[in-house]
């Protein structure tokens, strides 16, 4: 006897998207979330009474307008406080640069302006292809069925249709590192620094690391539809809440405080889950949005899978280096070169590509960058409800930071906080005067808080050997986890992390298709 058709583990955005799709197709679906709220890494966090920061993710970038329409998220309460925000590169001397949809303004040469327009054109074009690939399960190369061959033929055709110049440029750059790509095309250190930051955000890479042209594409998937960066009203939690409402409207049962401890697999098939409180729930299949390493190692147990699967899971790379800095501010700080009206935009600290590379160095040796890159949001500018009247909150994504520095975080936390505020103060000299409360969330904190190995942005590193039909590992690339009755639907699956909903959506499509086949 089963309790429901499908159990989804985790009410992160992917778990909720997947659950909603399955319920809309008539399945009885229950979502089990260990935490007390929906959204996963897209939630709010109160750092002082009345001060709400995005607890982890802060920008809505890749959640496509199409998916918002499909899930009727606006009807379910999703509101954007700001859309198409400009990314502003900060500069201690005030010579900032602004980027938006292929246009640059600020201290920049005409050559760079033209070169950026050209790069944006190329990357957008490539990303239309990448988006096509991202919206469906990856095709298998070996033992491919007709459908795979058609998908590959389609890809080949579309590559050709890019025109021979763009195609050869793509093939030349696809495996390249972003540093070399930028060096070839641009003069401005700040512009190169900003694009370096985009490429390495959430990764364990510096701009000179291979793969980083690909990660730049992956992080800017929204360029495929001319999208940029948006801010959700009511904080990032607004997304989770809207998704949870949509799920419930579709008939999904949501359970919070329901931590899954293990998967029930008496024979060769996953039959249900056991919760931390001992409750057992049975289902036709279990879909996990928990990162694949945790799903296999902790929830299932490597002893339950065949050797190759165990080996592949043990070799998945999940090193991260992303932390958060949260400040409650008594008033708006002054950023050199910006006026108050610009503070609601996306502010980046990445003055040049070598700065970004140097920020990556310490993490290789188990340390944190005292001069990190920062991706800063002051969401209370666009949405005053996030802080008491006239006051503000600041949230920054900080890179690169070791998950477990020598000596542990307890001895270094205060120093890191102070270093990072000093770093910020180089661009906003009066910042310290405004700080009411401050905290940092290290990768270890994020791991514990959001139940994701390493606190990893993508659950599984986005590198060329861990994308498409190799994500998270070859036998599990089609959302079926190589174990009957178990599926994956989180950021660790194709196409990867960011708030895109694509892994969850593809997983639901696949599950429904596979049911039909059997």
């Amino acid at each position: 006897m089963t309790d429901v058709d499908v159990l989804v583990i985790g009410a992160g955005h992917n778990g909720l998207v997947c659950a909603t799709q399955l319920a809309s197709a008539g399945r009885s679906v229950m979502v089990l979330e260990a935490g007390e709220q929906p959204g996963g890494m897209a939630v709010n966090r109160e750092i002082a009474p009345g001060f709400q920061v995005p607890g982890c993710a802060q920008w809505l970038t890749q959640f496509s307008p199409q998916l918002i329409r499909e899930l009727k998220l606006e009807q379910h309460g999703l509101e954007l406080a700001a859309t198409d925000l400009t990314s502003i590169g900060l500069s201690a001397d005030g010579n900032t640069i602004s980027l938006k949809q292929g246009e640059v303004s600020g201290e920049i040469s005409d050559a760079d302006r033209a070169a950026f327009a050209e790069l944006y054109r190329l990357l957008s074009k490539v990303n239309r292809l990448l988006l096509r690939l991202s919206k469906r399960p990856p095709p298998y190369l070996v033992e491919g069925k007709l459908r795979d061959k058609l998908a590959l033929a389609d890809l080949g055709l579309r590559l050709r249709l890019m025109g021979s110049d763009d195609m050869s440029e793509l093939l030349r750059q696809a495996l390249n590192n972003v540093y070399d790509l930028l060096q070839e095309r641009f003069e401005s250190p700040l512009l190169k620094g900003m694009l370096s930051l985009e490429a390495v955000q959430g990764t364990h890479f510096g701009p000179r690391s291979p793969n980083t042209v690909f990660t730049l594409l992956q992080r800017k998937l929204q360029w495929a539809w001319g999208g940029e960066v948006s801010q959700v009203r009511g904080g990032m939690a607004g997304l989770g809440t809207a998704l949870a409402n949509a799920a419930q409207a579709a008939g999904v049962t949501l359970r919070y405080g329901a931590e899954v401890q293990s998967l029930i697999m008496p024979g060769d098939c996953v039959e249900g889950v056991q919760l931390a409180d001992g409750t057992e729930l049975r289902a036709g299949c279990v879909v996990s949005s928990v990162d694949p390493v945790t799903t296999f190692e902790s929830l299932l147990g490597l002893a339950k899978v065949e050797t190759d699967t165990a080996r592949r899971v043990s070799q998945i790379r999940i090193k991260s280096g992303t932390a958060k800095l949260h400040l409650a501010l008594s008033g708006l700080p002054n950023f050199t070169g910006l006026d108050a009206s610009q503070l609601g935009q996306r502010l980046l600290i990445a003055p040049d590509p070598n700065y970004v590379e140097r920020a990556f160095n310490p993490v290789k040796y188990g340390e944190y960058a005292s001069l990190p890159t920062m991706d800063i949001s002051i969401p209370s500018v666009n949405d005053p409800s996030l802080a008491p009247d006239g006051q503000h909150v600041l949230s920054a994504i900080v890179q690169h930071v070791s998950h477990s520095p020598a000596g542990g975080w307890s001895t270094q936390r205060e120093r890191a906080l102070s270093d990072w505020i000093d770093c910020l103060a180089q661009y906003a000299p009066d910042i310290r005067e405004h700080i009411v409360a401050a905290e940092i969330l290290t990768p270890a904190d994020l791991e514990q808080q959001y139940r994701v190995q390493g606190g990893h942005w993508d659950h599984v590193e986005i590198s060329l050997d861990q994308v498409l039909m190799m994500r998270p590992f070859p036998a599990a690339a089609r959302y079926d986890a190589s174990v009957p009755g178990l599926y994956l639907c989180g950021a660790g699956s194709h196409p990867g992390g960011n708030l895109s909903g694509l892994p969850g959506r593809n997983a639901a499509d696949t599950i429904l298709k596979m049911e039909k086949q059997s």
Partner: protein, 394 residues
């Protein structure tokens, strides 16, 4: 000058100094990185020692892995296709293991030496596979290849010889049983196992006691015409007894380069070693699918007309090639011309009308015979003494 010129390419085993004395032919070869005698004096005499007196074969180069720890049985159940729980303490089991695609990686023997204590003997180097397979299990795996010396003592007088050497209680040891005795202060493990299909034993001891064991064995065996034998003689005996040889009769899955060159247990006639009642083991999913869909290849033992061994022959049926021979020998005791063949025929296909296309050479003249073959179910050599307990003694 090459600074390495005096270094041996192959390592000596614990018995090397003694083997040198016996190896009048100086016919050395390599086996798993060790020096092994291919023959000592005369292949036929060595073969007949197996079948009529006592033959001694050094199997030290075989890979030996000690598996210990609370999850030892569960771990081995992931790796091996048969149910390890059925191999009781003090018993040995023949076993195979597959990769996740259900292709045979190797065959070997599993010794259940004690509680949570096993030794797995394999043809291929298996440490890496065992290591990866141990993820999720609380076990320790130790490669004992270089620290445990082993001798196969095989033939109708083997029990008598070992008893004369001082091994007590041997007569009552059942086939696939294990006995531990003390030998000059060391533990000597004796198992009633072998690769000859005859009455026989295998001795396992720390390499430091290797030479002393050899000396004691040959001293006790002299009156019984004990004889050291090499791999050539053993090859005839194992074919006569119907035993497959990894690397000869199938390509171990991990060493295969080409797709489709490996074989499943069903395709090697080893389906009886696959226990689907076990909920999980490597290759289970693939093997279930193959069981339902049918196998591509089929293993058969053939009694070939005439006395020309069908080495590497094509097997024809109604004039069409249906397969090839992997092992062949004229078996002197069974007086059978035996061949193992891989046929690309479904399991239920008729096996009538099989013909071996045999080529042989006489003084540079090549001849061809088309020898009719009959598929047989059992190996032609299977003497009662192989199974008798108490073991026959002189």
């Amino acid at each position: 000058m090459n600074p390495h010129q005096d270094e041996p390419i192959y390592l000596p085993t614990a018995f090397h100094s003694r083997q040198q004395q016996h190896n009048l032919l100086h016919a050395w070869g390599g086996w798993n990185g060790y020096l092994k005698p291919e023959a000592y004096t005369d292949i036929e005499l060595e073969y007949f020692a197996i079948r009529s007196t006592t033959a001694v074969f050094d199997l030290s180069p075989m890979n030996k892995y000690r598996v210990t720890g609370p999850d030892a049985e569960a771990f081995l159940n992931r790796v091996l296709t048969r149910d390890v729980a059925k191999i009781k303490n003090g018993r040995v089991g023949y076993c195979i293991w597959c990769d996740d695609a259900g292709q045979v990686m190797d065959d070997g023997t599993l010794f259940h030496l004690g509680d949570n204590d096993y030794r797995l003997c394999s043809y291929t180097r298996a440490y890496e596979w065992l290591y990866w397979s141990s993820l999720g299990f609380d076990v320790a795996i130790e490669d004992e290849t270089g620290t445990v010396a082993a001798l196969a003592v095989q033939g109708p007088t083997s029990c008598t010889v070992l008893t004369a050497m001082g091994v007590t209680g041997l007569e009552s040891l059942k086939p696939f049983g294990i006995l531990e005795v003390s030998f000059q202060g060391q533990t000597l493990t004796v198992s009633r196992t072998g690769f000859t299909g005859d009455l026989g034993y295998e001795l396992w001891i720390d390499t430091s006691a290797g030479e002393a064991l050899w000396d004691a064995l040959f001293a006790a065996g002299e009156p019984y015409l004990i004889k050291a034998i090499g791999t050539e003689a053993l090859e005839i005996a194992r074919i006569e007894a119907g035993f497959l040889q990894a690397g000869v009769d199938f390509v171990p899955a991990e060493t295969a380069v080409r797709r489709g060159c490996t074989r499943s247990p069903f395709e090697l006639g080893l389906g009886w070693l696959v226990d689907f009642d076990k909920p999980r083991f490597n290759g289970r999913k693939a093997l279930l699918a193959e069981r339902d869909a049918g196998s591509r290849y089929r293993y058969v033992m053939l009694d070939v007309d005439g006395n020309k061994p069908a080495h590497h022959s094509f097997i024809l049926q109604h004039g069409k090639v249906v397969g090839t021979v992997t092992s062949a020998a004229w078996c002197p005791t069974a007086k059978t011309n035996l061949a193992f063949a891989q046929l690309e025929l479904p399991a239920d296909a008729s096996l009538t009308g099989l013909v071996a296309e045999i080529y042989y050479e006489r003084e540079l003249r090549w001849n061809k015979v088309l020898a009719p073959c009959v598929a047989i179910d059992r190996a032609p050599f299977d003497p009662p003494r192989r199974r008798q307990t108490p073991a026959p003694a002189l």
